[in-house]
Structures are given as structure tokens and as C-alpha cells.
């Protein structure tokens, strides 16, 4: 996700503040012998606060292993740690494009699924059990629209509608930069490709569809916070951005709504940094946090879908309604195909790298 491009001053302050508020936990004198610590690099803010509450604290209480948080988990930062031989992070919480880049650069440890609890893994879709990343929080690219411009029911209900500037007047906003792959799938969906027949992507067809939406785009946003601001304030009317973030904005009172139809689901994952010193503790941590019940607790606090379908046993209908992995929403969407984006072509680049680079060139050249 673009999150990494967008560490605003405010997020930084929130991150620092959450570190400080987490301070007391580091200073508690353990009753037992020191079981060591692990460092989880994540995105900070309310997300880390929630994770500390429902994951880190109970894990510390159960195992005696301290959990420190740090971040943001950028590929470049991991590379610096590896290059300098001073690896301070154990676990990352990040998205697939970053994981593919890091794995290709030899910065990540393969996940040994045999060391994880089979009963807890079973309710997690196979597509989320990647060799370098285990999906845990699900985001996705969805249609987020301003409800003052479009009354719900008369809003764009498919990507074809988003591409239709005649029937749905108003400015669009799409992501660009910050390592995000271009949204080629939604371009293909708009062009009539069925969401279950998406992969392998017809790249040329997708770029032609991108050419068509380009005149409708008011702003190519650089981070999702910016995207939500634009659509909330009515600077744009339809935004292709992270659906769960739209839900957060809506709950804070912004005039926005999320259409899940045709959405592209993608996981934020747990990934293991190669060369970490405390590998046993890492697997203990992973076993703890993939539990459906733990995931359900997190989903009550932040509206990202839990990866374990088991989590929905612990959520009531109201709590599950707006989660993107709730069965009724899951049915309308498709999974981002990690294998396709990560496949290395004859040029030595992954599809993700090649298309991200092409995105920048397309943007600079075609204008």
C-alpha cells in the first residue's frame, strides 16, 4: 500500500506518542527470567495502538516475551539494516509488493508453515499463505464515493461505472507513486473482464483502459490519507482507494461510502526478517496472532477484514457488516494474485516492478 509513502508529520507524532504510551510495558520487571524481546515493524498510529492492546500485551502476558514496535516497515530500511549487519527488526507487518521486493533482495526468511498451528491456519485462505508472508489484515481497492454527490443507490456500483464519465459526472482520484502497483485489475474489470477470470492479466488491454480513465482523473493521489481528504471534502467525487479506510472516515463523520463490488482484496502480512536473533519467539508470536479470536478483537477496533474466517464466529452481525472479508462482502470481490505480480519475467523484473515502473513512465509521458 501507499502507506509507506505517507508518513506525515502527524502520523509520525502519533507513532512517537504510541511508542511513549507503550513505554511502561518495557519497564515492567519480569517476574520470570528474561525471555527476550521481538521487534514488530508496523505502520504506527491507531493500528499499532489496537495491536498492542489485543495482540502485543496479551502475548507478553502469556509468554514473557516483550514486544517492541517500530516502523514504518519500508524495504529500504530493511535493506539498510541488512547491509550494515545490524538487524533490529524481527517481524514486519506489510503488503505484498514490499514483500516481493524484499524477498527478491534476500531480505526475508521463508515462513516455515510446519511450525504454525494447523488448526489456526486452516481457516485462513490458502492464497494468503505466501512463502514469505502470512496474510492477517485484509485491505482492498474499492470505490469510495462522496455521498453528497451521489446518493447511495445512485452511486457508481461497478468499475465500469467509474470509467463512465457521462453517466457519473465528477472528478476521480487514483493512486500513483509510493510503490503501489497500478490498478490494472480494476481497469480490466471496467473493460468487462470477469473478476474470477482476471489472471494472468492482459497488461496491454489494461493500459488501454487506463488511457481512457485518465481524462476523468482530477488528482493522482500519493497516499491514502490524502485520498480520503479529497473525497471527503468533495475535491473529487469518486476515489479508487482502500475501502476499510473509507469505513474509518465514514465512522468519523465524513460524507463518504464504500462500494465493495468488484473490489481487489489484498493482505497486509506478517513477514520474517532474515537474520533475526529470536526466531523461536517469532513463531510463538505468529501462532498467537493468527488465532481467529485475536483477529476478531482487532477487527472490532479497526475495520480491516480478519484473514481467518474463524474470526467471524466471534463477531456479531453488526460488527461483521462492514468488514471486507465478511462472507457477503468477500463474495463480491477477488483476491489480488500474488503469484502473478511476483512472477519474474525474462527481463529479470517481477511483474510488479515492471508495471510500477511503467506506471511512472506512463504518467510522465502521456501527459
Amino acid at each position: 500500500m501507499l502507506k509507506r509513502a505517507s508518513l506525515t508529520r502527524r502520523q509520525l507524532l502519533i507513532g512517537v506518542a504510541s511508542l511513549q504510551s507503550a513505554g511502561p510495558f518495557f519497564h515492567v520487571t519480569p517476574a520470570r527470567a528474561d525471555k527476550g524481546e521481538i521487534v514488530v515493524a508496523g505502520w504506527g498510529g491507531s493500528r499499532t495502538t489496537a495491536m498492542r492492546e489485543v495482540m502485543f500485551k496479551p502475548f507478553e502476558a502469556a509468554t514473557g516475551i516483550r514486544v517492541k514496535d517500530d516502523g514504518p516497515p519500508e524495504a529500504a530500511k530493511v535493506k539498510v539494516q541488512a547491509d550494515s549487519g545490524n538487524i533490529t527488526w524481527d517481524i514486519l507487518d506489510t503488503d505484498i509488493p514490499a514483500i516481493l521486493t524484499m524477498a527478491k533482495n534476500g531480505l526475508l526468511q521463508k515462513i516455515d508453515y510446519a511450525k504454525l498451528d494447523a488448526g489456526r491456519l486452516a481457516p485462513i485462505p490458502k492464497v494468503l499463505q505466501h512463502e514469505f508472508g502470512l496474510g492477517h489484515l485484509i485491505y482492498g481497492f474499492n470505490i469510495v464515493y462522496n455521498t453528497k454527490t451521489f446518493a447511495p443507490g445512485k452511486h457508481p456500483q461497478s468499475w465500469a461505472d467509474v470509467w463512465n464519465g457521462e453517466a457519473f459526472k465528477g472528478g476521480r482520484s487514483f493512486p500513483f507513486r509510493g510503490g503501489i502497483s497500478p490498478q490494472l485489475e480494476v481497469a480490466l474489470a471496467a473493460d468487462g473482464v470477469a473478476i474470477d477470470k482476471m489472471y494472468p492479466l492482459d497488461v496491454e488491454r489494461a493500459w488501454k483502459a487506463m488511457d481512457r480513465v485518465r481524462p476523468l482523473v482530477t488528482k493522482w493521489y500519493a497516499n491514502h490519507g490524502e485520498a480520503l481528504q479529497l473525497v471527503s471534502k468533495g475535491e473529487v467525487d469518486i476515489c479508487c482507494t482502500i475501502g476499510p479506510r473509507g469505513i474509518v472516515a465514514k465512522r468519523e463523520g465524513a460524507p463518504v461510502e464504500v462500494e465493495y463490488a468488484g473490489g481487489k482484496l489484498a493482505p497486509d502480512n506478517w513477514a520474517i526478517v532474515k537474520g533475526g536473533k529470536n526466531i523461536d519467539a517469532v513463531y510463538q508470536f505468529l501462532n498467537f496472532v493468527i488465532d481467529g479470536k485475536v483477529q476478531a478483537e482487532l477487527a472490532k477496533r479497526i475495520p480491516y477484514g480478519p484473514s481467518s474466517q474463524d474470526a467471524f464466529r466471534y463477531l456479531n452481525e453488526a460488527e461483521a457488516k462492514e468488514l471486507n472479508t465478511a462472507p457477503h462482502n468477500l463474495a463480491k470481490q477477488f483476491w489480488n494474485d500474488i503469484a502473478w505480480w511476483g512472477a519474474i519475467g525474462p527481463d529479470g523484473k517481477t511483474n510488479s516492478e515492471r508495471e510500477t515502473e511503467r506506471y511512472a513512465k506512463w504518467m510522465v509521458q502521456k501527459s
Binding site: 509507506r4 509513502a5 506525515t8 508529520r9 519500508e74 524495504a75 529500504a76 535493506k79 509488493p97 521486493t101 533482495n105 472528478g171 500513483f176 507513486r177 509510493g178 510503490g179 485518465r214 482523473v217 482530477t218 488528482k219 493522482w220 500519493a222 490524502e226 471534502k233 468533495g234 475535491e235 516492478e353 510500477t356 515502473e357 511512472a360 513512465k361 504518467m363 510522465v364 509521458q365 502521456k366 501527459s367
Partner: protein
């Protein structure tokens, strides 16, 4: 000092010390600047097998997108410099000629934004220039326009934002030159019968040109590396080379190519600085100038 030296009878020891004091600063500069720069260069030109390679430079030549971004960057920087000069000179002139109280107000008007974060100032323009922003609301209410003007997410927004952010770098050097101008010179011109306009054009303006050139050099150099403001206020025609370098380094992890792009940008900035230094003297550009 000379008296002191003779008095103590140890002139050499006194003279040696200033260079000793420099050791700390030089070590610091070497550690945080020279060594990283050399590393950057080695990334751009080193090949793990053959030792030396021009592959990154060749790659750049074959990527018109990056060239386009360089052109955009320089076009934007040039327009910003021109706008800053047109707005900054009168402001500096006013500051230099106004009374003490007015000068204080003007100086505060220049300096307070100068101390505010670039991010905050750029975001403020998003609020002001938006479709439903203050400027468009006023214009719509006054009946001057019937549909909102596209002031944001295009080159207009970028130029407004960058000119605002960089204006102090133009005003301050011009002001400092104007303040040191001998007031007797324009007075002499007037007493010899020159009109105020002619006095300005033939006396004050030529004498203050070094300040203007210093300001232009500073603004241009800073504008070339600008990143946040074009990203926030610009559209798809305003993608600067700094933005692409960020993508190459951070997302594609192609550090050799990123190093090459950075070095080219650095070389161009160096060339502009050298030109400015040639015209007005390096002291004025670095602020190391002695007071007369």
C-alpha cells in the same frame, strides 16, 4: 590581536589554533557529506563484475520518461524563479526604503511563513485553491466566475505554492544588498535631475543586481530539488525528478539508477551554483559575506 600576540610573545601558537578548530567541522563534513557522496558515485558507476560501468547512464538515455521529468523540473524551477524575482524585488525594495515600523511588519510577513513547515504551507494552499476552497468560493460569490477555476492539481497550483514557499530566499539577499546601498548615490542622481524612475533604473537597480542574482540562484537550486509541493498541489504534468528518484530508490530498490539520477541532479545544481558564484561571488550565495 596583534598587540596581544606581541605582548605574550607567542604569535605562532595563536595563528595555529584557528586551523585546529576546523578539524572538527571538516571531520564532520567528511563523515556526513563527502563519504556518502563517494558511495553514491560508486553505486552509479560500479559493476560487480567488470568494476566500472556506464550502464546506468545508458539506461537513462533510453528512458525518455526520466528526461521528461528533468525538463518538467527545470521548467517549473525557472518559472518559480521568475515569479519570485518579480514579486520579491518590489517587496525587498519596499522593505529597504520603508520606515522602521513598516519594515518590521514586512520582515515579519516574509519571515513567519519562512519558519513554517513546507508541508503545512503546501496543505494550506490545498484548502485555499480547491474546487470548494476559499478563493473559488469568493470568486463564485462575487459573480466573477460561474464555475470554479481549476487552480489546484495542475501547474498553476504548483507555481503558486512553490513561489510562496521560496519567496523569502529571493527577498532576503536582495534586501541585504539594498540595505547596504549608499543612500547618497540615488540622492546624487536625483539632485542631478534624474526622475525617480531613471534613478531606480540607472542607479539602484544595477547596484542591487548582485542581490537579485544571488536570490535567483538560491531559489532555482532549491526549486530543482522540490518534491512535496509538486506532489501535493500538482497534477500528472508536474511530476518532478525528485519524485521519480524517490520511487526508484524506495520502491524499486534500484539504488544504482537512483544514484545516477541523483548525481545528474547534483551536477546540474553544482553548475547553476558555479554560474551564480561566477556572476556574484560565492560568498554572497553561501551567506559567508563580510559586512563592509
Amino acid at each position: 590581536m596583534a598587540i596581544l600576540q606581541r605582548h605574550r610573545g607567542k604569535p605562532r601558537a595563536w595563528r595555529a589554533r584557528p586551523s585546529l578548530l576546523l578539524v572538527g567541522a571538516m571531520t564532520f563534513a567528511a563523515a556526513v557529506y563527502v563519504i556518502p557522496m563517494l558511495t553514491l558515485m560508486s553505486w552509479a558507476f560500479r559493476d560487480p563484475k567488470t568494476g566500472f560501468t556506464l550502464a546506468q547512464a545508458i539506461k537513462l538515455v533510453h528512458e525518455p520518461a526520466y528526461i521528461t521529468a528533468f525538463v518538467t523540473t527545470f521548467r517549473t524551477a525557472a518559472i518559480t524563479t521568475l515569479m519570485c524575482a518579480l514579486l520579491g524585488y518590489p517587496l525587498a525594495y519596499l522593505m529597504a526604503t520603508a520606515g522602521n515600523r513598516a519594515r518590521l511588519v514586512l520582515a515579519a510577513a516574509v519571515m513567519i511563513p519562512f519558519w513554517t513547515s513546507v508541508l503545512a504551507r503546501s496543505l494550506a494552499w490545498v484548502i485555499l485553491l480547491g474546487k470548494r476552497g476559499l478563493v473559488n468560493e469568493w470568486l463564485l460569490a462575487s459573480g466573477l466566475i460561474s464555475v470554479p477555476l481549476p487552480l489546484l492539481f495542475n501547474s498553476i497550483g504548483v507555481q503558486i505554492g512553490m513561489t510562496h514557499v521560496l519567496l523569502p530566499f529571493m527577498v532576503l539577499p536582495i534586501w541585504s544588498v539594498l540595505m547596504r546601498l549608499d543612500p547618497a548615490l540615488p540622492r546624487a542622481a536625483r539632485s542631478l535631475g534624474a526622475t525617480p524612475a531613471r534613478t531606480f533604473l540607472e542607479v539602484s537597480l544595477p547596484l542591487s543586481l548582485p542581490g537579485l542574482l544571488a536570490g535567483c540562484t538560491l531559489v532555482f537550486i532549491l526549486a530543482v530539488g522540490f518534491y512535496i509541493t509538486p506532489a501535493l498541489l500538482g497534477g500528472d504534468r508536474d511530476i518532478t525528478i525528485a519524485g521519480l528518484i524517490e520511487m526508484v530508490v524506495r520502491d524499486l530498490l534500484d539504488w544504482p539508477f537512483g544514484a545516477m539520477l541523483s548525481l545528474i541532479l547534483l551536477a546540474i545544481v553544482g553548475a547553476v551554483f558555479a554560474l551564480g558564484a561566477r556572476l556574484v561571488g560565492a560568498e554572497r550565495l553561501t551567506g559567508a559575506e563580510q559586512r563592509p
